[in-house]
Amino acid sequence: MKRSLFTIIALCLFFGTIYSNYKRQTPKSPLDYDSLGKVPVVLNGRIQPLDSVARNTLLAINGKSTATYQDGSRHKPIEWLAEVLFQPQLAVDRPVFRIHDDGLRAILPYKEPDQSGNMIKRMILGSGSSHHYYSLNEIRTAYDKIRQDAIEASEIEGQLRNRYQNAVVNLANNVIRFYNLTRTVHHGESPSFVDELTALQTIIPAAIEETEKQQRGEEFDSSKLSPMLGFMQVYRTFESEALFFTHPMPPVEGEQTWKKMSVALDEITRDGKPSEITQLYATLVDSYRQGDAATFNQAVPQLLSAIESIDSEAASKAKAERLFNYLSPFYVSIVGYVIVLLLAVFSWPLASQGLNRAAYWTTVAVFAFHTIGMGFRVYIIDYAPVINLYSSAIYVGWGATLLALIIEKLFKNGIGSFVASVIGIGSLIVAHHLIDGKDTLEQMKAVLDSNFWLTVHVLTVTFGYASTFFAGFVAIFYVIAGLTTNLITKQIAKMLSSVVFGIVCFSTLFSFFGTVTGGIWADQSWGRFWGWDPKENGAILLVLWNVIILHARWGGFAKTRGIMAMAIFGNVVTSWSWMGTNMLGIGLHSYGFMNSAFQYLAGFWILQLVFILLAYIPQNRWKSPVNG
């Protein structure tokens, strides 16, 4: 029991984090937002719950996962989305549009930086950025200019735009997205959606009768026809504006399609009565506007089951995705890896086997949770785990942790756990920054839409990245710990050297096989095995570097320290192959182009070179007796 005390405490801490994070997601409100978040819709070509629509949209326009209203109150994305969809008159005054660019703010109404609150706190932290947030109504005053500038800027290629032009294009897109959301469920031209449907049902039969008369060439009463035509006019204009699809249609020959609200409304003029889903959405709109929580909370589950009865797969996927959002596995995993890091670091000076065990078992738990997160993504979108740069970062962290667990199982000295936690934290933070306001669960373009090749090629080549990073970080550990602590005895140095060598062999195999399968995929779909594309070249650089390390060791040109320095340079090569080649903005693999991140990459490279220099400080100055 005493042996496992730290393990139990650490695991409780981690599971407590999972639970408290999950609980934090539920908005405090009499309205049942939890269920509303599960309602499936189709946006960006894929089924997703309203909760994801809310999170992704808010992140894109606001840069945050909560919305702060004009009274200072903070709201969850789904609360904000409900208002946008159901009562846009209020939503247009919420200051949710984040505008950092000074030039763009200059053409908007001036906002005083926040002067309230504690003066000392203000002096320390600055006045905050609340004056960077604008509502749609505030933006509207200058929208003509914004629109004009955005049209001009959008004709310039993305890389060549200046800061203002990027900001204005971004803002214009977000304004359109916001406006379209307000026109997705209801057009807002009548105060009550339910009354509108009732009125429609009373005038339709007479209008249909008159239409038929007209078609037969008989005399007809146009005054009975015109109210219906008025409705049709409204419905057809708001069709193109709606952002997502709300109505699943019964499958035809196994093909499932969805329709927009406007189309469903227009069809009432043909069928005479609204569908159940339309009626329920109308009830939601009205009860939301009236603040009638009881009716609202009754209608949401009904809407869910109405959709489920037509498209049950959509309903279960949407539920899963909402659960995935609530669990936020990758955010929570960062916390988990921090726990591992602390446990491993403290296990060495205290020489505590208990802390060491705790670090190992917490790594296992975090790894399991990390895996669950990737499993959710695979289930939700039906693709292999890596489909874009974001998911590759998550996978690199996962792969490195897997290797670390194997190493830790073999040597049981906490070094594996430590390196796993460092790469885990690093890669998940990188992944978080790669989101960049986009939906990371995206549909694959036709050419990449092959789960077989995504699995065989992308997973192996990315595992090659993960293992090279692992070797590189073990080498950094050797240098830093060797210089600053007396931890690295001759025995440990020998162990680390064989770990690095083994992992380099392993990553040679994976990066070579991954590169080759990439060539075969290219031969199958483009007709050439090798095309000297930047990403292909990046992959071959990684293979070459690994091969050089192996030959240098076999030839006796590099001993322990040389191998370590070379492994650290492997980090430079890998980060170039992985991220750098995408920044060139050319070639077939330039998905996820990033122009702003280059400075971080360059910083990372410089850091690696510093580590290599440190490795060559004469070893008699090292604190560790690396040579015995």
Binding site: R46, F512, Q524, F529, W532
Partner: protein, 388 residues
């Protein structure tokens, strides 16, 4: 002889060549932003030396070994190592496989770089096409259209135009002189302010427009549009001066121009270089699906019929992403589409060395697995010994 063999077989040479290869690949990747993939490939990889043109001394100065030289060095290095250093033993079977596979891989890439040809095939729905069009090269076609039922085509490849020489074709009653050739060009309207050097053409379109040479592009989605100024003159039998028929501007994307001479009608035009194939391909239908509510292509496919002219056989195929049609020695890939989804663009590839990378990579991967498997076995044996 021994010291030389020792040097050629040395690991120093191996590592040196690999390091140079890394530098070369890095430069060849970065320069793609300027030269495009094709341009950079030719400059860095499919060459013995990477050279830089120095205008002051008017020569190309080599400053870095190119892909061919490094590949050749590795080839020699490995062959020498196999003879001089490698031992034949079952323990070394992995090593042997990896290195033999690598030799094959280098040869395969060399064969591809020399023999691989790429072209494209553009078909409208319902249309039948029996030729492919080159991606990069153009040709000057002179078509005898005198007989309504059959055209005779005389095509002059770009390589001949580039030499700016006089071209005589036996069956044609006139000779062609290439006065000017521009590898890439733009056209402008001809008016009073047009400079004299651009006023060479005195027939056809050339009276209203003139071409200006622009730098060649190597970009993936861009193509050079060559233009030429040609003069036609009659074939003289030595006694009299030849009769000049006129000077024309020819370029792709300008209307066809016609010449009448000795009661025969000819159309002259510049077009992408064509290669006739022994079968005709008909596009029955092109389909293009997008994800609901987006413009992201979900799938596109061409439903085609291939009519073999020699055997008379007809076969239907569906070409789509990751599923090309292989026929005769060519492979047809779904590349793109245009014209509101009514025209398909197929990429056509001929590569005699196609199967080599498959063979070599299989051997190498197996070799690596065997080699590292053996190492792992030794490692765990050692651990057990230590534990015991």
């Amino acid at each position: 002889m021994k010291p030389l063999l020792k040097l050629l077989a040395s690991l120093e040479l191996t590592i040196g060549a690999f390091v140079l290869a890394m530098v070369l690949i890095l430069f060849g990747t970065i320069d793609q932003a300027n030269l495009g993939i094709h341009g950079a490939t030719e400059k860095y990889f499919y060459t013995v030396f990477v050279t830089q043109y120095i205008p002051a001394i008017d020569i190309n100065v080599p400053y870095m070994p190119g892909g061919y030289l490094i590949g050749f060095a590795l080839l020699v290095n490995m062959t020498a190592a196999m003879i001089y250093r490698f031992r034949l033993s079952t323990q070394k079977i992995g090593i042997w496989m990896v290195h033999l596979g690598f030799v094959l891989l280098l040869l395969g890439e060399f064969i591809s770089s020399v023999f691989q040809e790429e072209a494209s095939l553009t078909i409208d729905e319902g249309q039948t096409v029996d030729f492919t069009e080159s991606f990069r090269d153009s040709e000057l076609a002179i078509i005898d259209t005198t007989y309504p039922d059959k055209d005779r085509v005389y095509a002059i490849p770009q390589a001949m135009l580039e030499r700016k020489q006089q071209i005589a074709i036996d069956e044609l009653p006139f000779n062609i002189s290439v006065d000017e050739f521009m590898p890439n060009s733009v056209v402008q309207r001809r008016n009073e302010s047009t400079p004299d050097f651009a006023r060479l053409a005195n027939r056809g379109i050339g009276l209203q427009a003139y071409a200006i040479q622009v730098p060649e592009t190597g970009k993936m989605n861009d193509r050079n549009v060559p233009a030429a100024i040609i003069t036609l003159f009659s074939k003289s039998n030595g006694q009299e001066d030849p009769e000049v028929l006129g000077t024309w501007l020819v370029r792709e994307f300008i209307p066809n121009q016609t010449v009448t001479y000795q009661d025969r009608e000819y159309t002259i035009l510049m077009r992408r270089e064509r290669e006739m194939i022994n079968y005709a391909i008909t596009l029955k239908d092109f389909s293009h699906d997008r994800y609901l509510g987006t413009n992201i292509p979900k799938n596109f496919s061409s439903d085609v019929t291939v009519h073999d002219k020699t055997t008379g056989l007809e076969q239907d195929f569906l070409i789509y992403m990751n599923n090309p049609l292989r026929y005769d020695d060519l492979t047809f890939y779904q590349q793109g589409f245009m014209n509101d989804d009514k025209t398909t663009i197929l990429q056509v590839v001929r590569n005699p060395g196609r199967s080599l990378p498959y063979i070599s990579c299989t051997i190498m991967t197996l070799g690596l697995v065997v080699q590292f498997g053996l190492s792992l076995q030794r490692f765990s044996k050692k651990r057990k010994k230590v534990a015991a």
